[in-house]
């Protein structure tokens, strides 16, 4: 095993262990903290694949911004054993069924594309510079500019939608003032 493989295995085992921690821990705050650590190990994988930009953006956007908002909401909800809603049997059953079918699809998808994947991945990781910010930017703004712009319009519309939803109606404002 060369050094890259060792790093890959260590990071993978850590990622999986932390991801299990997310669903196993009793307190939702601990779950979020485990999830943040999971993002860090995934960023480590990106760095090992020479994709520094992806790695740091993963940290900034997911670990730094989205998870802060998650933590924000969970802290406000003040969850504990007493207030946690008890799910009935039917909901649990539906959850098991849908989760199981998702797992089945993942396994099937991975299995069909597995052949020769390992060699390809290592080759890609060691020879490709596409993850460096210059190459990535070049690819995004020349070859993939149309999908890129579509995605940004989508985000913009989501943002405007959130602002519209968050805006109070005029008569509602009057009630608050009174």
């Amino acid at each position: 095993m060369d050094i890259h493989q060792i790093i890959f295995w260590v990071l993978s085992i850590m990622t999986l262990g932390l991801a299990v921690g997310v669903i196993m821990s009793r307190s939702p705050i601990n779950s979020v903290l485990f999830l943040i650590l999971t993002f860090f190990t995934i960023s480590g994988q990106y760095i090992a694949m020479n994709a520094q930009f992806l790695a740091i953006v993963n940290v900034i956007v997911y670990a730094g911004a989205i998870m802060v908002l998650f933590l924000f909401v969970i802290m406000l909800m003040n969850l504990n054993g007493d207030t946690e809603p008890q799910k009935n049997f039917l909901v649990q059953f539906a959850g098991v069924i849908s989760g199981g079918s998702l797992l089945l699809i993942f396994v099937a998808a991975l299995k069909s594309s597995y052949t020769g994947l390992e060699g390809k991945q290592i080759e890609l990781a060691q020879s490709s510079d596409i993850g460096l910010i210059k190459n990535l930017g070049h690819a995004l703004f020349t070859d993939y500019v149309f999908p890129f712009e579509i995605a940004s319009v989508l985000f913009l519309s989501a943002m405007i939608g959130a602002v519209v939803l968050g805006k109070r109606e005029k008569d509602e404002l009057d009630v608050v003032v009174e």
Binding site: I3, H4, I7, S27, I29, L33, I36, A48, N50, Q52, F53, I56, V57, V59, I60, A63, G64, A65, V68, L69, L71, F72, M75, L76, A125, Q126, L132, I133
Partner: protein, 358 residues
Amino acid sequence: MILLALTLSLVLEKVILISVILGASLGIAMYSTWAERKVAAIMQDRRGPNRAGPFGLFQPLADGVKLFLKEEIIPTVSSKFLFVLGPSLAMLMACMTSAVIPWGPDIPKADGGVISLQVADINIGVLFIFGVVSLGVYGIMIGGWASNNKFSLLSGLRAASQAISYELAMGISLIAMVMMTGSLSLREIVEQQHGFWQDGWFTWNFFKQPLAFIIFIVCAFAELNRAPFDLAECESELIGGYHTEYSSMKLGFYLFAEYINMFISSVILSSLFFGGYNYPFMDIVAANVSPLLVSIIGVLVLLGKAIGFILFFMFIRWTIPRFRYDQLMNLGWKSLIPLALINMLVTGAVILYFFSPK
């Protein structure tokens, strides 16, 4: 990809460099606490600390000893692990940013190589700083929540929303600057500000992007949780804010992390906008003195600029009263972000029409 091409001498170099940088930041942060009290005293026509040593210079040591010896109280119903994790994270994140800062020009070695005065010259240095800054708020949030105190929790939430709001404007204002330099590496950005005057204009980014600088420094105040944006530790509303329940050195770490952050962000401000270790007539100086001395002068110049910024941070703190929370949010979302966006658009247009390489 060469990931781990390490030699012993390189490791040794970096270890020494990291220790020196950490020691220096801790020392400067320590004396910032003293300077803050002196500045406050002068601005309020008092004397300030003057008992411990000449001019009260041993005051930070006395404070440190006091904090270490105080009784440590951990609230019984809080999560003990997270309670300890809060100040540790605050301290860790405060110290991490210094890794990508170029502290001075390279020192040439006898065998032709150079000793770089930068721990890691990664090509995404600016983004690394953003990553660390965006994680910095976890220390406050976790500490505030683990205290199991409503005031602490509110303070943690305030800190989080404030940090996220101002990060946006900060990032957009930096994009304008990065578009001009064309690089995210801090070393590259500093090198491009070489000297002081070239081709009929100043080389320092402050003179090229004054609006970006103003937005950036306002956001830096907000990210540092310093007055006038210290809503997270607003005494009149929240007692002590997120560190209400903390005692002993854990409280000390929270307070101390703020001063380290202040020093580091002063260094970043001087590197990004005020030329870092560059100074006027540096080529003439470089031609006349030994290379080692050139590096030392560069480091001193950078530290001088940083100390100037630290003093500026302190003057603002003792001049401007605290914002109200809605004013803070209005300033961030309705003034700074649109301003930063306009600045980015104008910069892009100017680069495209006047400086595009055709």
